[in-house]
């Protein structure tokens, strides 16, 4: 989230698209209710299904899964055509006036530079025209046909209300009503918020869905303000934290990157990272990259990381592919190229798509280690459960270790919520039996491997032997020790960069903020964005002062929010060019004539004069990007792409399948249904229920009673067409697998008219498996395909094609 749960009360219009907060995030949704009750805010829901969020909305419109970009570009087109634009914001705080290279263009659904063979773009034309002074060329009058604004206007021109109706199935009148409501938020004193979740991310173009809404929010002037922003609701309690800390193939904590093998040395690695400002006088915060990186290397390898050895640069692995993400690993596993695999509190046998492929891949491992509080499908994947897990146990040669871990109630530490708040929690129960903390298990594994290297030698043991491990008890590092390490501390005296006689921190002291990070080896810090979370004043994450001066929803003294305890990102953009709030009734900060101050931590140097430094300091432009240059693989503007399995061809280019640059492994490509395949005419989409959390609560007898049995949700029309009875048994199958379920026949899903044909949608909730207290069932992953978003490889769970038929009984295995 750019904002926070409690900030939603400040909004005038909530758009829930790609999520279902009332059911999946009920206690956060209360802030929507608060805004409706106390500000008169309106709620719009756009969803394939009439969800419980929709049932309390002011306006609902249906949409076909996987067509969101068409809808969003359509709204942008309408706003431009009807002059619903916050012009001062767009001119000053976005790159609307920047000129783009003449070679850049779009036709037939594709941008310039597409290479069909490589399934990739040559992105060199997707960039600005630079002047001889090294700064970007602009036209503040927005007249130049090559300025971003005019290119955007041309780009969205195809997305007429008629096009929206044709591709999304949203009736034109409903679409126009929604445009009207959204358009009202282009005034500086009205704000819209976007609440989205996996309904937008789980697509082969998920990142572009989100960009589409972010662009709309910029055009309306809604980023950086109270009650505005882009608010990802996030599905699990600490996926924000695990991503912040970089537990991904290509990440280093704080959104730094693991090097690729093209970056053969430190100098090459650093050369592309410290972005120089491309507008005069701008602050470009990534210029500090080396400080964060060196401090990370010192946190990892201490004295073994020196200026002379490039901070132990070669202790880091170098990637030969963009990432060894989950789906790439399962592909390798399926080819017998992975021997040993660890799952820590993760149940991939149900969480990743194409269950058949997953089981086959796991059966080729030599050893699987599962650490979990629960007996999961993953640690029991080799066990035969009839149709629910029809495997040949004896043939599976994988050794499995199932290790019992503690859960939240027995554990201490911080979790990061959607609003970036790091909240500390304490243990209140003794672990059951021999269950252990994950920290103990990881320490044990590390210590034992290290000992083997000490005793036996082996291949490149240096990064293992030299890993910093200065914990009081090396066998069980404590949460406070680890939290301090992430915050960072001085290794030798840290001086003020401007006044070099002024001492900021003595050796051994905790750093107060990331401004104290250095790239000369005098500081260490595991995760720069968490700097300030555990200072010399103690554990800031454990703060529990719930006073809220000005009643803004900021709660600055409750826990700690990264970065720098800031609650609303880009909050400098809440003020005009003179530094006065666009909406005085919703002030966050303002320029006093000397400095920025207010209810939140300013997202700009406190003495940076308004008009001199742009508000988007993480971009070298100082402004936000309506045109994203070459930052994303699939285009600088969102363009309509069909899901890989779709009922119709892409209206711009019938030959284009899915996202033209998404990675597709051959074995997966062979398992796609053809476009418009008559054998698979139904659009399937997955979703959560309010009574269950993922695959966990089916282990809880209370929740298992509340929602005991797997079902699929279909319209009355489809039920009638196929002779399916209310509550009757059905078989649902895709090109990859089949499931048996009870039919929930509802009015919540209706058939749609898509490009002249009737298309039915079927809903598949995701909470059942073959372990736990609920009845055995299936998940949507028995049906969905292993293809992911072109930028981040999040699987396309929200749109794939299936068929359905009545089924007298489940077959007996």
């Amino acid at each position: 989230m750019t904002n926070s749960w409690t900030d939603i009360k400040n909004t005038d219009l909530v758009v829930v698209m790609g999520g279902n907060a009332a059911e999946a995030h009920p206690c956060g949704f209360k802030w929507v209710t608060e805004a409706k009750a106390h500000r008169g805010a309106k709620l719009i829901v756009v969803d394939p299904r009439y969800t419980r969020t929709a049932s309390v909305s002011d306006y609902y419109a249906p949409i076909r899964p996987g067509s969101d970009i068409v809808f969003l570009m359509g709204v942008i087109r309408w706003c431009i055509e009807n002059d619903k634009v916050q012009w001062d914001y767009v001119r000053s705080f976005t790159n609307a006036s920047f000129l783009v290279k003449d070679e850049f263009g779009w036709s037939d659904g594709l941008f310039t530079g597409y290479d069909e063979e490589k399934r990739d773009y040559d992105k060199s034309s997707w960039d600005y025209k630079m002047g001889p002074d090294g700064f970007v060329q602009t036209d503040p009058t927005l007249q130049d046909p090559r300025c971003v604004w005019n290119l955007l206007k041309a780009h969205v021109d195809a997305y007429t209300p008629e096009m929206v109706e044709r591709v999304c199935g949203t009736p034109k009148e409903k679409f126009l009503d929604i445009c009207g409501m959204i358009g009202e938020c282009s005034t500086p004193t009205k704000t819209m918020t976007s609440m989205y979740a996996l309904g937008w991310t789980q697509h082969s173009k998920g990142a572009q869905n989100i960009r589409g809404m972010a662009m709309l929010q910029l055009i309306l002037g809604n980023i950086g303000v109270r009650g505005g922003g882009m608010n990802a609701l996030r599905g699990h309690s600490n996926i924000q934290g695990l991503t912040d800390i970089g537990l991904m193939s290509n990440l280093i904590p704080g959104y730094l990157n693991i090097p690729t093998e093209k970056e053969a040395d430190w100098a090459t690695y650093m050369s592309t990272r410290a972005f120089k400002p491309i507008v005069p006088g701008q602050m470009s915060y990534w210029q500090n990259y080396s400080k964060f990186m060196v401090s990370f290397m010192k946190a990892m390898w201490g004295d073994a990381a020196t200026a002379e050895n490039d901070w132990a640069y070669h202790y880091l692995p170098k990637l030969d592919v963009p990432a060894y993400d989950g789906m790439r690993m399962f592909e390798l596993m399926n080819h017998g190229k992975v021997n040993l695999y660890f799952c820590q509190g993760f149940n991939p046998i149900l969480s990743f798509p194409n269950r058949g492929k997953m089981t086959q891949a796991f059966s080729k491992l030599k050893m699987l280690v599962v650490m979990d509080p629960l007996a999961t499908e993953t640690s029991h994947f080799w066990e035969n459960h009839g149709i629910h897990n029809d495997v040949d146990t004896a043939a599976i040669q994988t050794e499995v270790l199932e290790l019992p871990t503690t859960c939240f109630a027995e554990d201490e530490g911080a979790l990061v919520n959607s609003g970036r708040w790091l909240q500390w929690h304490w243990a209140g129960a003794t672990p059951p039996g021999e269950a252990k903390h994950d920290t103990w298990i990881m320490a044990q594994i590390f210590q034992r491997v290290k000992k083997l290297y000490q005793e036996e030698g082996g291949v490149f043991p240096d990064p293992i032997l030299n890993l910093t491990w200065d914990y009081a008890d090396p066998d069980e590092p404590m949460p406070d020790e680890l939290a301090r390490e992430m915050n960072g501390r001085a290794l030798s005296t840290v001086y003020d960069l401007k006044d070099t006689t002024k001492v900021l921190a003595e050796a051994g002291q905790q750093l107060a903020n990331f401004g104290q990070y250095r790239d000369d080896g005098s500081t260490m810090g595991g995760c720069w964005i968490y700097a300030g979370s555990w200072t010399e004043d103690g554990n800031m994450m454990a703060r529990r002062d719930n006073t809220d001066p000005g009643d803004t929803g900021a709660f600055l003294n409750w826990s700690f929010a990264w970065p720098a305890n800031r609650r609303i990102l880009y909050n400098r953009a809440s003020c005009d060019l003179q530094g006065k709030p666009w909406d005085p009734s919703r002030k966050i900060i303002e320029w006093t004539g000397e400095k920025w101050e207010g209810y939140d931590v300013p997202d700009i140097a406190v003495t940076a004069k308004p008009g001199e430094v742009g508000p988007f300091i993480m971009n070298p432009e100082g402004v936000s990007r309506l045109f994203s240059r070459g930052m994303m693989r699939d285009g600088p503007f969102p363009t309509h792409m069909e899901p890989f399995e779709a009922p119709i061809a892409n209206v711009f280019n019938p030959k284009m399948r899915g996202n033209p640059v998404a990675r597709v492994f051959e074995s997966d490509a062979n398992q796609f249904a053809a476009i418009g395949d008559p054998e698979f005419p139904l659009v399937a989409t997955s979703y959560r229920l309010t009574e269950h959390f993922h695959y966990w609560t089916k282990h809880n007898p209370v929740n298992a009673v509340l929602q005991p049995e797997f079902f699929v949700e279909i319209s009355e029309e489809l039920a009638a067409e196929r002779g399916i009875e209310r509550g009757g048994r059905v078989r649902v199958w895709s090109k990859r697998g089949e499931v048996w379920a009870k039919a929930l026949v509802t009015k919540r899903i209706r058939p749609m008219q898509i490009d002249g044909k009737t298309v039915h949608v079927i809903g598949i909730p995701l909470h059942w498996g073959f372990m736990g207290a609920a009845r055995k069932g299936f998940g949507p992953n028995s049906l969905s395909s292993q293809v992911g978003d072109a930028n981040v490889e999040t699987p396309e769970f929200k749109a794939f094609m299936v068929n359905i038929e009545p089924s007298a009984e489940e077959p007996v295995a």
Binding site: M333, L340, G413, L415, A443
Partner: protein
Amino acid sequence: MNIDLSRRGFFKLAGAGVAATSLGAMGFGEAEAAEQAHVRAFKLATTTETRNTCPYCSVACGIIMYSKGDVKAGETAELIHIEGDADHPTNRGTLCPKGAALKDFVKAPTRLTKPRYRAAGASELQDITWDEALDKIARAMKDDRDANFIQTNEAGVPVNRWTTTGFLAASATTNETAWLTYKTVRSMGIVGFDNQARV
């Protein structure tokens, strides 16, 4: 706006104090004894309160856990009740149908209590000690790393990556677990590293 008087304190006052003061002062000594004999003591009055957050979605509702025994004091503590934390700015004491049933998640019948091992081709898990399990893991890692670690690519550039072992990290472990996991996994050169945020 913080609730100054803790619930536990309040219940103690209410349970022990009210009868003694009001009834006793009016000379109802016997009535007081009778009252105390049949009114059960409020269960939460003798518990330890611990602040935590719900482990499910990312709203991260504040919760209060009530236990018999105090973990901080080194005692065995048994969780007996969980409720929403009224002081928490986000949920203000409310919980959803999942959060309201959290205690039964902690005590789920399928919670794991012992390390277990499944041999190749076996149809059952068998108990194994922690020591045996961890030694087995360390041995397998060392052997696989030594056999398959890639030190340089064809161009002779040091790449130091290990692709034949992978690690899927969680979605609900603490930041502190995440950091220790990060250190362990990265120091060994594992690149097949991912977490639940991917899906």
